[in-house]
Symmetry: C2
Subunit: 432 residues, 2 copies
Amino acid sequence: MKADILITDTLLLPDPGSKTLIRDACVAIGANRITYAGPMTGCAEIEAEKVIDGHGRLAMPGLVNLHGHAPMTLFRGLADDLELTDWLNNHIFPAEARAVNPEMAYWCSSLAAAEMIASGTTLAADGYFHEHDVARAFEDAGLRAVAAQGIIDFPAPGVPDPGKNIEAAAAFIKTRQLHDSLVRPALFAHSPYTCSNTTLQRAKQLANATGVQLYIHVAETEHEYSLINEPLGPSPIKHLQGLGILDENTICVHCVWTDQEDLQIIAGQGSPVVLCPQSHLKLASGMADLPRMLEMGIRVGLGTDGCASNNSLDMFREMDICAKIQKLHRLDPVAVPATEVLKLATVNGAAISGFPGLTATLAPGSPADLILIDLQQPHLQPFYNGDLLVYAASGADVRTVIIDGRIVMEEGKLLTIDLDEVLQQVRSLATA
Amino acid sequence: MKADILITDTLLLPDPGSKTLIRDACVAIGANRITYAGPMTGCAEIEAEKVIDGHGRLAMPGLVNLHGHAPMTLFRGLADDLELTDWLNNHIFPAEARAVNPEMAYWCSSLAAAEMIASGTTLAADGYFHEHDVARAFEDAGLRAVAAQGIIDFPAPGVPDPGKNIEAAAAFIKTRQLHDSLVRPALFAHSPYTCSNTTLQRAKQLANATGVQLYIHVAETEHEYSLINEPLGPSPIKHLQGLGILDENTICVHCVWTDQEDLQIIAGQGSPVVLCPQSHLKLASGMADLPRMLEMGIRVGLGTDGCASNNSLDMFREMDICAKIQKLHRLDPVAVPATEVLKLATVNGAAISGFPGLTATLAPGSPADLILIDLQQPHLQPFYNGDLLVYAASGADVRTVIIDGRIVMEEGKLLTIDLDEVLQQVRSLATA
């Protein structure tokens, strides 16, 4: 048997949703897919072009970051610890108006891609403007991604006339659907309080007509809830339901301000939910009721949000806080155990992303998106089980990253991104 | 002018409690102390034996971890996501009874020291049993520390007869006070629900007689509150106050279940408080009211707690969660800004530790405890200000660590600890 890549003598977590670890294991990759993942005895006959020594490492599926705004790396740490309206109106919106252009979108998304790959993310869903340039950056980095063009009823970067926001999004989808790449296009309606009913319905029609997903910020803050609640309907979720927007291809990001009826609607429509726990904490949005969502069978994934409101794109950090905050919220140390959080950030994320055949497991036949973690470090020993991936690991422990069978980072070195150039470009934008 | 160590061409955060950054700066160290920290122009005349290139780095004071149980690294991840009584009675207590001995305490504390130094902690306060061996491990690692011998009214590691717990602690203090080292002895009374009134008062008398600090877990859980509230007094804090235990040399660890009267008592007595936010979340203990404590002028520091209940000793992680959780709790994004949290983990921690002259600033004359952070990484660019130290950095970003003027880690390599041997010893203990 032949393979393109063979990882030998490693500790294996083949399915992050289960606690099963396989010691003295190997992983074989051929034609972009996992061909074998199991005990070393099973790979004695495999000859590979590239052999990676996995000793002292853990091999596991890569992480899935289901929500971000990649160009906003430029605004990381620019304005922290502020009231939401002060933050938006006096800092973020002016900075966006001044700084966002196609070149900026490309370089700052390259920085985001570098950060995500370096910290073990192999699939990212993004929503912003100049999304074609975001998609180019992700393509160049070899990152699997969903790139969603923003739709908002205000002048936006690259879309100065909001009357043409659907048209611009349609052009984006059309152009991107010509590319055969790891980056799939989608739409990102900003929110029910920044998009009119007509805009939301037209966005959904465009999504349906082109067969792409529609992402939307919804039920994020109490302020949004009050804006919707008064003139439009009982709640942001019920408002979207009334417009006929919710189905399994509409991904509801945040869902903090949801009641039992809202969650029943989401569950009934099969809409996936994406939580961004760090953003919910840092902006003081509130607590999403993750345990109840899971009890109700809602499909939940995790995202970091843009790094103006986090300020990190490290999904390990996101998992840790996600697990811990739910325990406090319920005053129950058993709530949302580590394995459940690992599943949200891998298996669930992959399923929600809509990539055909993507499982975020190392089952034979799955697309080869995986990472190697260095366990030979003080904070990861002893390593009794995978719980430490949530409660002690960080993105910095990731050494090697493979996406779609291609090594994009090896032993800490990014192979697809010229990091020095990216850092220089972003620094010059930051000081402009 | 001569110096032992000169760090050149660096970005400088001389006082973590202030936002001031100095670009193109240098730091000089002589006779274990900072002799200069400021613009490069001020060090043109300095000749040093050792020059460290600080380009692309941030130099700042090291972090202070005010609460831990170093030997418990052996139980890291052994039992997560469990009810507190299940966790203690069925997992942690049996594991301690089986595994804890002087040799284990030494090796597992060496692992803790390695983890803390590698993640930028230059001063740790510890409380456990076989604390003499913990102190030896810290001494060998060159870590500045407070090592507090445990006192509890149950059979404990090394103290099988609880009737001799004060005696054993007195012997520990006497022995350790003969050492001239960076590790100072102290006492650690386990809690008001595991120590009788007599034991607590004798522990405080011993602390007073020997001039050491008394650390105590207090007001950690609702369960403890109910145990104290019924037979003993209105609250754990009022109970300790009634026993005459509280003063500026009694360090109250946790203080989650405290009301306004409790906090007034703590403020009035001048007792420092140590919060362990990650432990409070993971064990679902509850939320300490940090903003109110600060408003009332209470001296607050941060600790990681033992890594059976966290599971990391990374103080960067602790700072991040500390800042974010308070914003959620108050639904106020302005609550406890990053600079305030940095101050808790440095300046406040140093002052509470009781080390003479220790300021956790880089002011000339201060003991030279400092760290260098690698800013040339995707997640730390752009670097507009020190907020990213809380919201994006992790312990893995620390490259070089200097404690008391001695380089204990250089470019990621631990110089005082044989990490391979420590990992091997701990692994063999973990699989025993």
